[in-house]
Assembly symmetry: C2
Homo-oligomer: 373 residues x 2
């Protein structure tokens, strides 16, 4: 029986039991739901190797069962979207199922190239030779013209931001159409770099209708962009993986829609979804809402996510955690202590809350440059 | 102030209030989170037309506020994934936010072609001239060889299923690789059709790495397939829209991952996600877990979803509701009364629970043919 399971995902699911539910029964039902979609007695012998298998159940608190289930990684092969479906596709429609942890088999991980740049490559793109944390600013708000956004991008670059990303809500609105906006903003960053001698990177939001995606990537490359912002749960994990693998652009991932998966008793642990899966999709940095900002994201999750982005994962390059979501500039010293220098601090709205955007950026940038270890 | 809002989404959000939250404050914060990502006082005058606007708040039960918010549809233009992000992207990361209803502006709806076939077109593809409900069977389980699956597909077709879909977990596993499987199953359906004089449609699962998507579609067209199964939340709404608009294949949508959005106090109402959005993506039929099966999906949601799939939505063609998720064959008469003849009944595992698959299929198929009105 060993052979098929040499390439299994080992998934720990947290199951919230309803009245009269048995943990064992729920686990067995989940294992078949995610694979055969038949009760096990209807699965022919020839299909048994692909049937999910319950390796153990344990009760850690009343009404909750932790089930360890082996799922056939080969069912998804090198298709990351199908791997997500294998983990949680129909499970999402059952009540109280949460993916707590996943052990990825080596041959499954080997199918995914992961970040094309990673920590070292993205540092190099942004011209940061010393080992210090990076600062990312944001072009905002939606509704400004391309020229107005470019002014702000220029100020952020002159102030010393290493990266300047578009807000993820700015894609191709009539007030700042994609082609015009990215050209103006890229130009603003180039001019700022010439003035400062820096290498700030503009990170435009890459979204828009599927049919135009290749054309938009070509446009970015033509004007000299080296990075882009993507929302993997909107675009699809496989679309992002394709962009990461073939475009030559470094990718920052935005967590839009991810909160749907973060209920305490239903969904996918953030370090699996934003950590392992986004990294397997080839994201070089992953934006997430750090605790203490506008979004309720507990410290324990941040710590696990950071570990999953930077720690070992097959032979995949490590990716930057990009704490965000309403981080005040005053918090950066403490956060740097907590998160270390392999971090990109995304300070968006806080920099606009001061009278001079360039100056506000300069203060944080100077701190990070001086704090390098 | 009227002009920008001539093209607004009017969204009713259900907000669950935390201790000390005010409904008005939560609504204002959500409106700016989904657009400017800045506190309203930091939004320049030129960007105000794109700032979400709270049109009203009402309290329907203690601790809950219903906020009606106008969002600038033009921010997403014809990009369905970006429209989903506009509705719920960052909102997903706030606690207790549920999209209850959306009024789509006519010019926004007009950007989406919707189902290429719709009710009438899919009926025609399946050779069903009379106005009766359709029967869909499922090729399963994952783990069988292509030949074994083709045997089952043939039995379902001979039994009188109008459509036979792959399980959504069967994509390109080593035991039944995509190209081999779809060729065998399509051949089995063709042979069955020749024997019965019928026009059953094989609906293969279209998934797999993004880079090979065009090739897989070409393969399906070459072997004579006219329809495919897609999982829009795995592939991405825009990828599905592109397939619907350009491939010539009719699309059945699978709800994999959708349950992440269906918490009672957080997410998106199923009739918006599986109804409006999947229909705008061009799905001709949408599979959903009907109540009374393996998944907890209340009747009220089924009724609303059915209405959103078949009722008026701009000029988009209506789509089939495809109730599924463990429907027993004995329930079909009652469900037909409830749902009417513009329905595809997906009876998957229940048909395998009987000794003879073809015969079991035949019983349900005969009932639907005789019950036509």
């Amino acid at each position: 029986m060993g052979a098929p399971y040499s390439s299994s995902l080992l998934v720990r699911y947290r199951l919230t039991l309803g009245d009269g539910d048995s943990g064992e029964t729920r686990a067995l039902r989940l294992a078949s739901e995610q694979t055969s979609e038949l009760t096990p007695d209807l699965v022919p012998a020839s299909a048994q190797p692909f049937l999910g298998r319950v390796l153990g159940v344990e009760s850690t608190e009343p009404g909750v069962t932790i089930a360890t289930i082996a799922l056939p990684a080969e069912a998804a092969r090198g298709d990351l979207a199908q791997l997500l479906v294998l983990l949680f596709g129909n499970a999402s429609l059952q009540p109280g199922v949460r993916v707590e942890s996943v052990e990825w088999p080596a041959d499954s991980l080997a199918r995914f190239a992961g970040p094309a740049f990673g920590l070292a490559g993205l540092r190099e793109l942004a011209g940061v030779r010393e080992r210090r944390a990076l600062l990312c600013g944001a072009a905002k708000p939606l509704g400004l013209s391309s020229a107005e956004l470019a002014d702000r991008v220029g100020a952020l670059a002159r102030g010393g931001a290493d990266l300047i990303k578009d807000d993820h809500g700015i894609s191709d609105p009539p007030c700042s159409p994609f082609a015009e906006r990215v050209a103006r903003c890229q130009e603003a960053v180039s001019q700022a770099n010439q003035a400062t001698g820096g290498s700030a990177l503009y990170v435009p939001n890459l979204a828009g209708p599927a049919a135009g995606l290749v054309g938009r990537i070509e446009r970015l490359l033509q004007i000299g962009c080296r990075a882009a912002l993507v929302a993997p749960l909107a675009l699809g994990l496989e679309t992002v993986r394709e962009i990461a693998g073939s475009s030559g652009l470094a990718l920052l991932a935005h967590p839009a829609l991810a909160g749907a998966f973060f209920a305490p008793d239903h969904g996918i642990a953030p370090e699996i979804l934003l950590g392992d899966l986004f990294r397997m999709a080839g994201c070089d940095g992953v934006i997430y809402p750090h605790e203490g900002g506008r979004f309720p994201f507990p410290a324990a999750r941040s710590a696990a996510l950071t570990e999953h982005l930077r720690g070992p994962l097959g032979r995949l390059r490590p990716a930057f955690p990009v704490p965000a979501g309403g981080i005040a500039a005053e918090r950066v010293p403490d956060l740097l202590q907590e998160l270390g220098s392999d971090t990109i601090f995304l300070i968006g709205s806080a920099l606009y809350d001061e009278p001079d955007l360039e100056r506000a950026t300069g203060k944080v940038a100077a701190f990070l440059r001086e704090a390098r270890r």
